[in-house]
């Protein structure tokens, strides 16, 4: 189905919340999925894959990236995170100041992102992996090209991925009751 970027962000945020994530990380996953979709990557599918993988074994791309952003320090060594592409937009917001771009490498893929949200990969298929080891994030100096960022208007999301997100999101809603309908507003 074709969805708007706003729908991607809202659905992923609700799905993360429904999966038990704290609001702060749910917001970050939503924003990351949106930014990836805007740049032409399967952000919603990656978010669905991440949320479907149970448990936090220290490889969550959002939680790890948030901590690297908070400490203003990228890991020196290579790391293991699931769905590593989801890390890139978050890291780019912090580590791409002063004419730097973020580079991420894994399994032969190299992804480059700048502070404007422009993200490109030399191998989009490898970039969208759900599991990789030996991931290296670096911020490198780069004179930005004055190219316009092409942003998608609507993005194609596989029904299965959307439904997977929706299943999680359902856990963030409160089932209807007569009492809740009374609180809904207009009654004729």
């Amino acid at each position: 189905m074709i969805v708007s970027l706003g729908e991607v962000e809202a659905m992923v945020r609700k799905a993360a919340r429904g999966a038990g994530w704290p609001w702060g990380h749910a917001e970050e996953l939503g924003a990351s999925a949106r930014a990836l979709c805007a740049a032409g990557f399967p952000g919603a599918a990656l978010a669905a894959a991440l949320l479907d993988a149970h448990g936090d074994d220290g490889t969550c791309p959002i939680r790890q990236s948030a901590h690297w952003c908070d400490t203003r320090q990228l890991p020196d060594a290579s790391v293991t995170v699931r769905c590593p592409l989801l890390s890139v937009p978050l890291l780019a917001t912090v580590f791409c100041s002063d004419n730097r771009v973020l580079q991420a490498r894994w399994d032969g893929a190299m992804i480059t992102a700048d502070a404007t949200g422009h993200t490109c990969a030399d191998d989009p298929h490898r970039a969208a992996t759900t599991g990789a080891r030996g991931i290296k994030f670096t911020a490198v100096h780069h004179t930005p090209a004055s190219q316009a960022v092409a942003r998608a208007v609507g993005v194609e999301v596989q029904d299965a991925n959307w439904h997977a997100l929706d299943r999680h999101a359902q856990h963030s809603y409160v089932p209807a009751s007569e009492q809740s309908r009374m609180g809904a507003g207009p009654t004729d």
Binding site: E7, E27, T93, Y173, P175, A176, S177, G185, P186
Partner: protein, 558 residues
């Protein structure tokens, strides 16, 4: 140079009781829209009108600006009375609409016909900017058709009292149900101010509703039928039922909330800073006061909260009128003197109405602020470079209002906001009586700040904030939000949105006042009806007439 000094303190401006007394003003979005449509000489046409005698079919209205054309696509249905409901959980409506980007082709119309009537259950595309629906005011709709079909005009008092032929029950924009994202159109000059897409949609709906009744009257009465008198037509707007769905918006968009209030407060400060008042300015002000008095006199509500507010407004405006009888306009900064008087002499309704009235003569001075009503809302980066102690000091400075709220009693946390599984709409629950509080939406800002402060107090003040957030990710969203506050002092509703006595209609009122609505009519503590564009010129009247003189009813000699 404008003076932007003397902005009112956010502690004064952003508590619920004052926000819930807000009035429409020159920077309200409907007025911004019509000023632009006239200034830019927009052209309007009824491109298609394929509707049968029973009012069923489709129509397309075009609005052509200097660079782009937009189309209101309307699908009119014959809805049995028993299916008509204003609730968001309704599944059928008298008329459904979308605003299309450009002139729709036959293929577009077929695609839209298969989706727009389904509303939330359908899908629109990036070529659409807005999705909406409206129900007839059953009584007035029939009355007007009956009268016109017999060659008579409908009763003017009844038209004025009801105020609309149809009321919208939802107007969606910004990427909802597949529509274009706000980002995709935010760069267009015509949409730089907020909600211009949605309000253009409603403005065209208004023209459609009158065309529809005239068409149906003509079909019934043939040669005997007459068109609606233009003066009577002006008294009709578009009704709107607004429930809790709109309430979380202001909390969820703190930077926008700040932009709206800051623009309005800047306008007020500019007028107060004027060294003198012109005779023409005073005359205009007095004329608008008379019209506001008439508006208040004809503002009826059966709601026990609203009735004393209207009575207070009527009394305040009378007091203001008497005060002006002896007011010396020759003193220095006379507008500021008037405002200072009002701060102690008038209630909240009167003060906020006075604010709107003081802007009326000063379009040249304040209308440019319409360009400051929007703001980009990129995902905010969190700055965790401080310590627990520095965040505590930050909260003491910027969230003293929240920390001063007593959250120890059950009544202070009696409510919780949640999203209902049914129709996915925001609702308000009773925390200690209803299930679901564990799925609460993060709208109780003062309570979240309190919880954050307590968690900070349990830590070493020298602990790096990054470490605190790693241990307490549950406070991450609160910190991110709070860090916006220094640059956006008007962004928070400085009240307890979980309190047992909180009135959601206060949140609805301030938002709808910024839209440009007046004569708010609450039907409970959590939904209300308004009329939009009542007394405004119709699209075909914009070029020949005044585009910005309709917010209050006219009175003799005014």
């Amino acid at each position: 140079m404008h003076s932007d000094t003397a902005l009112r303190d956010p502690n004064e401006v952003t508590h619920l009781a004052r926000l819930g007394s807000a009035h429409a003003h020159r920077l309200s979005f409907m007025r911004v829209l019509l000023r632009r449509l006239k200034r830019e000489n927009w052209r309007f046409s009824r491109h298609r009108f394929e509707i049968d005698a029973s009012g069923v079919g489709r129509a397309v209205y075009l609005a052509a600006g200097p660079e782009r054309t937009y189309a209101l696509v309307a699908f009119a249905h014959d809805l049995p009375d028993e299916l008509r409901s204003d609730r968001v959980i309704a599944e059928a409506w008298d008329t459904t609409f979308c605003l299309h980007d450009g002139v729709p082709t036959d293929a577009d119309l077929d695609r839209l016909a298969a989706n727009v009537p389904k509303q939330e259950a359908g899908r629109i595309s990036g070529r659409e900017l807005s999705l909406s629906r409206a129900n007839r005011s059953v009584r007035l709709f029939k009355t007007v058709i009956d009268a016109l079909s017999r060659g008579q005009q409908p009763d003017a008092d009844e038209l004025m009292r009801v105020g609309y032929l149809m009321r919208t029950t939802a107007v969606y924009g910004s990427g909802k149900f597949g529509a274009a994202d706000r980002d995709a159109i935010a760069g267009r000059a015509e949409f730089t101010s907020p909600f211009q897409v949605e309000l253009l949609n409603v403005y065209l709906i208004r023209a459609f509703t009158v065309d529809l009744v005239e068409h149906m009257a003509m079909a019934r009465g043939g040669d005997n039928a007459v068109a609606l008198d233009p003066a009577l037509r002006r008294t009709l707007g578009v009704g709107n039922s607004t429930g809790l769905g709109m309430a979380p918006f202001l909390v969820n968009h703190p930077r926008l909330t700040h932009a709206w209030l800051h623009a309005r407060e800047t306008a007020l400060a500019r007028v107060r800073a004027l060294p003198t008042a012109t005779q023409q300015g005073v005359e205009t002000f007095v004329q608008f006061l008379r019209r506001a008095q008439r508006n208040a006199d004809t503002w009826h509500s059966e709601h026990p909260v609203q009735q004393p507010k209207i009575a207070s407004l009527v009394a305040d405006l009378n007091r203001l009128s008497h005060h002006l009888d002896s007011f010396d306009w020759q003193i220095a900064q006379p507008w500021n003197a008037l405002w200072r008087w009002a701060e102690s002499a008038l209630g909240l309704e009167g003060q906020e109405q006075l604010l709107a009235l003081m802007l009326e003569p000063h379009g040249v001075l304040v209308d440019d602020l319409a360009d400051r009503l929007s703001t980009a809302e990129p995902f905010p980066a969190l700055d965790a470079r401080g310590t627990v102690g520095s965040l505590q000091a930050f909260l003491d400075t910027h969230y003293a209002w929240a920390l001063s709220i007593d959250h120890t009693s059950d009544t202070s946390r009696a409510r919780f906001w949640y999203v209902s599984e049914e129709k996915l709409e925001p609702r308000l629950g009773e925390r200690f009586d209803e299930p679901g509080a564990e799925r609460e939406q993060p709208l109780g800002i003062s309570w979240q700040i309190r919880q954050l402060a307590e968690a900070l107090a349990a830590c070493d003040p020298d602990l790096p904030l990054a470490d605190f957030l790693a241990r307490h990710p549950e406070h991450r969203h609160t910190v991110r939000r709070a860090q916006l506050a220094p640059q956006h002092p008007y962004m928070e509703v400085r009240d307890n949105l979980l309190d047992a006595t909180m009135l959601p209609i206060d949140l609805l009122r301030v938002k709808l006042a910024f839209f440009g609505a007046n004569r708010f009519d609450p039907r409970s503590d959590r939904w209300l009806r308004i009329t939009m564009f009542q007394h405004a010129p119709y699209p075909h009247e914009l070029q020949a007439g005044e585009a910005d003189d309709w917010c209050y009813p006219r009175v003799a000699n005014a």
